[in-house]
């Protein structure tokens, strides 16, 4: 294993060397950083040309100049790592490392949402192959595949931000709009549940009616301006999470798990007011982390109390429920923050922003308000990025799941009398996740370099902005800096993916027999 990793790291170095050499020359030969000065009639121009030639070492031909750059990179091993300087004399590694957090913040939520949504929809479509749901999801995913992100972004800005903000001024839903919303929600749910025609219409009717009731209730409570869960809503949502997690992980018939999970919900209800009080103290990130540890600790204790043997699955269920309950509590707190945020001078009743990372007019101070501000700025980019990327996950997980379902071990599992839930979740889903994981890992790395357009449309200043700047100002060092980071991450991600593959699938042994 060690030898395998070492050899892979060696190959990685060679590839990085080759591709950076390629890109350096490609970029250097095809652009002229002093092109504008050459045609300039300014008497200062020759002096400036001379100065630039000296500072950018333009008198050295690019293939040789590359090695000056490489010397800085190799300084990594002797402790003076350098990616050179940008044309505004700022060290490139500083500029790049400052840009990374922004880009990560921009893409990470979108990637996670896309993975969860994409995989679950993909698996449902595989289970209902050739159904109406399958066909419509295939169509939707192809449609999303075909959308240019900047086009989606303009639409989102118009309808999700500007029009939605206008609507929030006086939130009412016309009866016709409400009927359309209810019909769409019901159609999606009913076709996902499946079954014969009678069941389809039954589910459709129930879903449509409850959508209308919920919408009317929300409007009645003025929920869009003062959203809140409250202890009761929080408790019901938490119980729902407990039941869902139990059903998916071990099945509702597993009483010990259900009890442990439900005890987490009860614990959440008991601690509702104390936690709200804690949330208003100083050092919120620390408090949240402490509460997370407490939750996990309590989940383990509860599982040990409720289950005497085979505690693993019980603990897992309880911990998951506990984390979901905690997230619900944070959501509730954010909802309480909505009203002061909405009415603050900086926001002024228009909570969904179209550009930027944070609202600079907002007074710093309150942790929850600034957290909500960051989240609101993430809404549009996240929707756009998710819409574009989750189609791929749908297609991929559908294909893998179908392949797995045709395997012999699935037939064996069914033949020995396991129930459908166990067959799907334990036997099929786990094996589907093996190839999907490798895709996820490489996507994480790829998306860092791929958010160039998203950043530009939504006015974020991350890696994409740096890259744009580098190209437009012929800033070779900056360009190489951005490239060096994205390429290294991509290659490392591939290595990690291969290693993960061998950990998850014992049939594959890396480095064996070599």
């Amino acid at each position: 294993m060690f030898a395998f990793i070492m050899r892979r790291l060696g190959t990685l170095g060679v590839i990085l060397f080759g591709s950076s050499f390629l890109l350096y020359n490609l970029a250097a030969l095809s652009g002229d950083p002093i092109g504008e000065l050459r045609t300039s009639t300014d008497p200062e121009a020759p002096a400036q040309i001379a100065a630039l030639t000296r500072s950018l070492q333009l008198d050295v031909p690019p293939p040789l100049r590359y090695f000056y750059w490489l010397k800085g990179v190799l300084g990594l091993f002797v402790g003076n790592f350098s990616l050179g300087e940008t044309r505004s004399s700022e060290p490139v590694n500083v500029a790049v490392f400052e840009a990374i957090p922004t880009t990560v913040r921009l893409v990470i939520t979108a990637v996670i949402v896309a993975i969860i949504l994409g995989i679950s929809i993909g698996i449902v479509t595989a289970l209902r192959q050739y159904s109406k749901f399958d066909y419509s999801m295939t169509f939707v995913s192809f449609l999303l595949f075909s959308l240019p992100i900047f086009w989606v972004a303009v639409l989102l800005k118009q309808f999700m931000a500007i029009e939605f903000n206008n609507w929030l001024a006086s939130p009412t839903i016309a009866p016709r709009a409400m009927m359309i919303i209810a019909a769409v929600v019901a159609l999606i749910l009913a076709s996902a549940v499946g079954g014969d025609r009678k069941k389809f219409w039954k589910v459709f009717g129930i879903a449509a009616a409850s959508t209308v009731v919920v919408l009317l209730l929300l409007l009645q409570l003025n929920w869009f301006l003062q959203p809140r869960l409250g202890p009761i809503g929080f408790f019901f949502a938490s119980v729902g999470a407990a039941v869902l997690v139990t059903q998916l992980s071990v099945g509702l018939s597993h009483k010990q798990s259900l009890r442990a999970a439900l005890s987490m919900s009860v614990m959440g209800l008991i601690s509702y007011y104390p936690v709200q009080w804690l949330f208003n103290q100083e050092k919120q990130p620390l408090i949240i982390f402490g509460l997370l540890l407490l939750t996990i600790g309590f989940a383990v204790v509860a599982s040990i109390y409720f289950a005497k043997v085979d505690r693993g699955p019980v603990i897992r269920t309880a911990v998951l429920t506990g984390i979901l309950t905690g997230l619900l509590m944070i959501l509730d707190k954010l909802m309480h923050t909505w009203e002061p945020y909405f009415n603050s001078d900086a926001v002024n009743g228009r909570p969904v922003p179209t550009v930027g990372q944070t609202n600079s007019l907002l007074e710093a101070g309150d942790y929850w308000i600034s957290l909500l501000d960051v989240l609101m700025h993430l809404v549009l980019p996240t929707i756009a990025l998710t819409a574009i990327s989750f189609a791929g996950y749908i297609r991929f997980s559908r294909g893998t799941m179908l392949e797995v379902l045709n395997q012999d071990y699935i037939r064996t599992a069914r033949a020995k009398g396991l129930n459908e839930r166990t067959v799907i979740m334990r036997h099929a889903f786990r094996n589907t996740m093996i190839p999907i994981t490798t895709i996820i890992v490489s996507d994480f790395a790829g998306i860092l370099g791929g958010a160039i357009i998203t950043e530009r449309v939504f006015g974020w200043t991350g890696m994409g902005t740096l890259f744009n700047k580098a190209i437009n100002t012929f800033d070779l060092n900056l360009l190489m800096g951005v490239f060096f980071l994205t390429a290294t991450l991509a290659l490392l991600a591939n290595l990690v993916a291969d290693l993960l593959y061998s950990v998850m699938d014992p049939r594959i042994r890396v480095g064996a027999g070599e």
């Binding site: 990085l16 075909s146 240019p148 118009q158 790829g446 190209i471």
Partner: protein, 355 residues
Amino acid sequence: MILRKKKPEFEVNTDGSIVNKETEGLSQGQIVRKRFLQHKGAMIAIFVLTSIVLFVFSALKLKIGPWTYPGWWKYTIEDLPDFALEGCADGLVGCPTMSLRPTWLGGSGVQLGEHPFGQDDIGRDYFALVMRGAQRSLMVTVIIGLIGGVIGTVIGAISGFYRGIVDSVLMRITDFIITVPSIIIGSVIGFHFGNLGVAFLAFYLGLFAWTGLSRLVRGEFLTLREREFVDAARVAGASNRRIIFKHILPNAVGIIIVSVTLLMSGAILLETALSYLGFGVVSPDVSLGSLISQYQESFTTRPWLFWYPGLFIITIALCINFIGDGLRDAFDPRQRRRITRKDRQSARVAMKAKS
């Protein structure tokens, strides 16, 4: 026309088991053709895409060598007609005159009018601009698909067939290129070659677009070259060239066609993205991406400048994706329709009727 009775896909054997009769007695090519023709989405997509290509390329004046085709549309992208004022709301000028709502539904009747897609901010006919943009985008797509497809197939085939040192060298080169995100390569290329014209831009982009394809083809060649029919051919004295072209390539053609299709659907989005960033097609020439980029700020005032190029991009990309999906289904030999409950029932009913 004779209406033939459709042969049932599944039949019940005498021992009660159900067998798939879909592919009985057909050659590989026939099965692929049959499956592809049965794929409704792909068939519709082919029809739509062909119509779009014919429509778009016949609209404007085309010059191919000494031969000039006049085009049926009255404006070109250089014309600057006066703004049409009638029919626009709120003091806007140059709004679309196309109407698809017949008079008996309360509209102004199905008509194209003077400027079906409206006019842009200096009065150019937007229909002509969109047609030219779609031509450019389609051209880029096809050129990238062709160049990428040819290079990818050749490199993949050579490295998969000869293995060893050739394979290592070629695959390391592929790795070099694959590490750089395509949008970065595209931007560098587009920034410097964009002004040479669309064909050059597409050509250079194609030179870097083959990496994924070559890996797939290599994998396919690696497995195919170990198969018995290749051994048989070699024992019979066939040369390497003959084995590659007559024995392996026909078996790998499915994977090649499918990935070229997917390459093309990626290419149209890559071109629009580059033009959007300003590294693609440069003015005065237009592409669908550059049109959107140019007029995205005017969405609230003149939404038509934004809708029409977007609709063309989506329709073209959607069609290519559906064709690719149909081809993948058709070429995948493992792909069998699962026997559903309905099939079982209908097969039993058919059996009972027979006996």
